[in-house]
């Protein structure tokens, strides 16, 4: 299932990350909680943001996060959410919003989560109301990646009341909103546990006028577009988690060797435990990716990969910390521990992934 030339792509990505993600830069962006624009540009110029080469992007994400998760994600998420335009957008939207992103000139963001609705996407309250030939958008979005740096966002809002309590996911529409438009406001959310080199913002939309041509796909079908996007994005998130777990495993292995602990069973067992889980997470993730890249995504496999890889990232960083003591909690490993936790939350919590898995399995019976 894995293309033969993956080792070459992997090697190139690893070389880039080791060269560019220096200790100094990792700490600088972490402490300043700043988006690493220079690294984003370099990664683009080196050809890593190439949506026509999905396996290349996948292993780049894995290798980048293996060296530093915050910088790695920011470097490769400049086109965040743009798959919805690729799949459902008009030619006009593709030309206006997708092309500049793919050329590395613009940054996009995906705005769904709200203060009162996270996992429960259908519970959002943002409103999109008809006014003349266009629409007016009001509402708030929270925890939005690229929130302070994106030039435009793919925003989900309610455009008509749900027909019934059971059909809350009906009547939602997705639109493209530019950050320069009147009524738009983005405030950076600081003080995260980890991933501080990624931009996270609270967005506010106050009577933002949205032209009709900025509706993505059909009005009222936004919820389906979001769910389709999750089938793609969750594989990338699983890959982030996989990279974090592999990076922690690398550090633990180095610790064992440097401290002459090779023959101690406590460390051997911990290493075996971590390595087994990392391998399993990689197989699940690559399997889900293979299905997606052959245009046959399987939401069950995708959710399994995302859930298991996220949990593995937390498990491996925790175990590595446990056996590296003070050295661990004052080294790069402590950052990996903090970065890892979000992988169990964003883009669908573990609990949501379990719901997807079980509901779809039961539906097939």
């Amino acid at each position: 299932m894995i293309p033969e030339n993956l080792d070459e792509l992997r090697g190139k990505a690893r070389e880039f990350a080791l060269r560019e993600f220096t200790e100094e830069k990792i700490r600088k962006y972490e402490e300043e909680e700043k988006y690493p624009e220079e690294i984003r540009r370099k990664a683009f110029e080196a050809g890593f943001l190439d949506m026509s080469n999905p396996w290349g992007m996948l292993v780049a994400m894995e290798e980048f996060c293996r060296v530093d998760p915050g910088l790695g994600i920011s470097a490769l998420s400049a086109a965040f959410g743009s798959e919805v335009i690729m799949l459902f957008g008009s030619d006009y939207l593709k030309k206006k919003y997708l092309e500049p992103v793919l050329k590395g000139e613009k940054i996009s963001g995906f705005a769904v989560t709200e203060p009162s609705a996270g996992s429960d996407v259908a519970g959002i309250r943002s409103r999109l109301e008809r006014r003349g030939k266009g629409y007016v958008l009001n509402g708030e979005k929270i925890f939005i990646t690229n929130g302070t740096v994106a030039n435009h966002f793919y925003v989900l809002a309610r455009s008509s009341p749900p027909p019934s309590p059971e059909k809350r996911h009906h009547g939602m529409t997705m639109v493209v909103v530019e950050s320069s438009w009147p009524g738009f406001e983005a405030e950076q959310m600081k003080g995260k546990l980890g991933m501080r080199a990624t931009s996270t913002a609270h967005l506010k939309f106050r009577d933002v006028e949205v032209p009709e041509e900025n509706v993505i796909g059909e009005e009222g079908k936004g919820f389906y577009y979001v769910m389709t996007f999750f089938d793609i994005s969750r594989i990338h998130v699983a890959t982030q988690a996989l990279g974090i777990a592999q990076g922690a495993l690398d550090m633990f292995t180095e610790y064992i060797i440097n401290n002459g602990l090779n023959n101690r069973e406590t460390y051997q067992f911990a290493l075996a435990d971590m390595a087994t889980r990392v391998h399993a997470a990689r197989l699940l993730t690559y399997d889900a990716a293979d299905r997606l890249f052959k245009f046959a995504p399987d939401p069950v496999k995708t959710s399994m990969a995302k859930y298991f890889a996220g949990e593995t990232a937390v498990y491996v960083t925790d175990l590595a910390l446990k056996y590296t003591g003070m050295q661990g909690v004052t080294s790069k490993l402590e950052k990996f521990y903090r970065d890892a936790k979000i992988e169990e939350i964003w883009e669908g919590t573990n609990e949501v992934e379990k719901l997807v898995i079980s509901r779809m399995l039961l539906k097939k019976r």
Partner: protein, 341 residues
């Protein structure tokens, strides 16, 4: 399980924590424990909790002191560890030879000056009247005084001459600060007492550490419960979903059982005390992870006050014990055989 005096001490500590720490906890993580808070901790009698009253102490029993640490830890684990460190200075180190250190003990207990000591003791080199060397992990690196060993028998007090080589990016207890420092200073010898050749400050305080970890686990559970009863998703309260409710139920039972176990132990050097410490830290880690997860994206931010338990519990594990060394010691107590392989 507790006497009336002990319950009174617990409610005093709880009120102190709610009044002085609840609103200040985030600031403590960023700016440390300032003179004002140190004075308040001293006035409340926490810095010399178990010390005899003739030295300015509160003359508390161990259970009362553990209850104080547990309550403080629910709001600020950093402050709880600070209190334990100051107490270790007077209770386990300086008090051993009060004829030399009495004035210093009173300074610490009254909060007049700030003191520190290395987490993992390394002998500094005494050469004539000067003391030199490096300390890789020193909390409170800007304290007025540093207490250390010049050799396994000689305790010294150092004022000035401590230079920060590197401030560590520490996972937890950020308000304490943690630095690698070099020392080159005039030393004052304090005592000539026999000590463990490789003493660790918190080694002899298993039950106190267990109480701190228990406080973290309880706070994490309480916050998860509160949030689950106020946050709605999919038209229901989070608490109405069985997997979460059952998980919180299970952890509530574990915490209650552990609390009874911890407070039933009398000997800090016993196998049970060591087991209680390991169990409580493990429980604090697992419970804080669940609490963060329940809070979703909000839990990932400092202002929610949940993520610090996730960091601090993992850091505590590293700060108070060498996992393997500790378990070897306890295994010998349990099995009578040393696990070497």
């Amino acid at each position: 399980m507790f006497s009336e005096d002990q319950l009174l001490m617990r409610s005093t500590a709880r009120e102190f924590a709610q009044r002085e720490l609840a609103q200040r906890a985030e600031k403590i993580e960023k700016e440390g424990i300032d003179n004002e808070l140190r004075s308040k901790l001293a006035s409340a009698g926490f810095l010399g909790a178990m010390l005899p009253s003739k030295y300015g102490g509160s003359d508390l029993d161990r259970t009362s002191f553990m209850l104080v640490l547990q309550e403080i830890s629910k709001y600020s684990p950093t402050t709880a560890l600070f209190v334990l460190l100051q107490h270790s200075l007077v209770g386990r180190t300086l008090i051993r030879d009060l004829s030399l250190a009495e004035s210093y003990v009173q300074d610490i207990v009254s909060g007049k000056t700030s003191w520190t000591l290395p987490l993992f003791q390394r002998n500094l080199k005494l050469d004539g009247g000067r003391i030199r060397g490096e300390i890789p992990y020193l909390p409170l690196p800007r304290a007025d005084f540093l207490v250390s060993y010049a050799d396994p028998k000689t305790l010294v007090v150092i004022k000035g001459g401590v230079t920060e080589v590197r401030a560590h990016h520490s996972l937890g207890f950020r308000g304490l600060g943690l630095s690698h420092v070099s020392v080159d200073s005039v030393a004052e010898k304090l005592s000539q007492v026999e000590v463990d050749p490789t003493p660790k400050v918190l080694d002899e305080a298993s039950l106190e550490v267990a109480a701190i970890a228990l406080g973290m686990a309880q706070a994490s559970l309480e916050r998860a419960m509160d949030y689950s009863k106020s946050r709605r998703a999919f038209n229901s309260l989070l608490a109405e979903f069985q997997p979460l409710a059952f998980q919180l139920l299970e952890y509530d039972a574990q915490i209650k059982a552990l609390e009874r176990f911890i407070y039933s132990i009398k000997d800090n050097e016993s196998l049970e005390a060591g087991e209680a410490k390991l169990l409580s830290i493990d429980l604090a880690k697992r419970m804080s992870r669940i609490s963060l997860q329940v809070h979703g994206g909000y839990g990932y931010f400092e202002y929610t006050g949940v993520e610090k338990f996730y960091r601090d519990s993992a850091a505590l594990e590293a700060m108070v014990s060498d996992q393997v060394g500790e378990k070897v010691k306890l295994s010998v107590l349990l099995l009578g055989v040393e696990p070497k392989i």
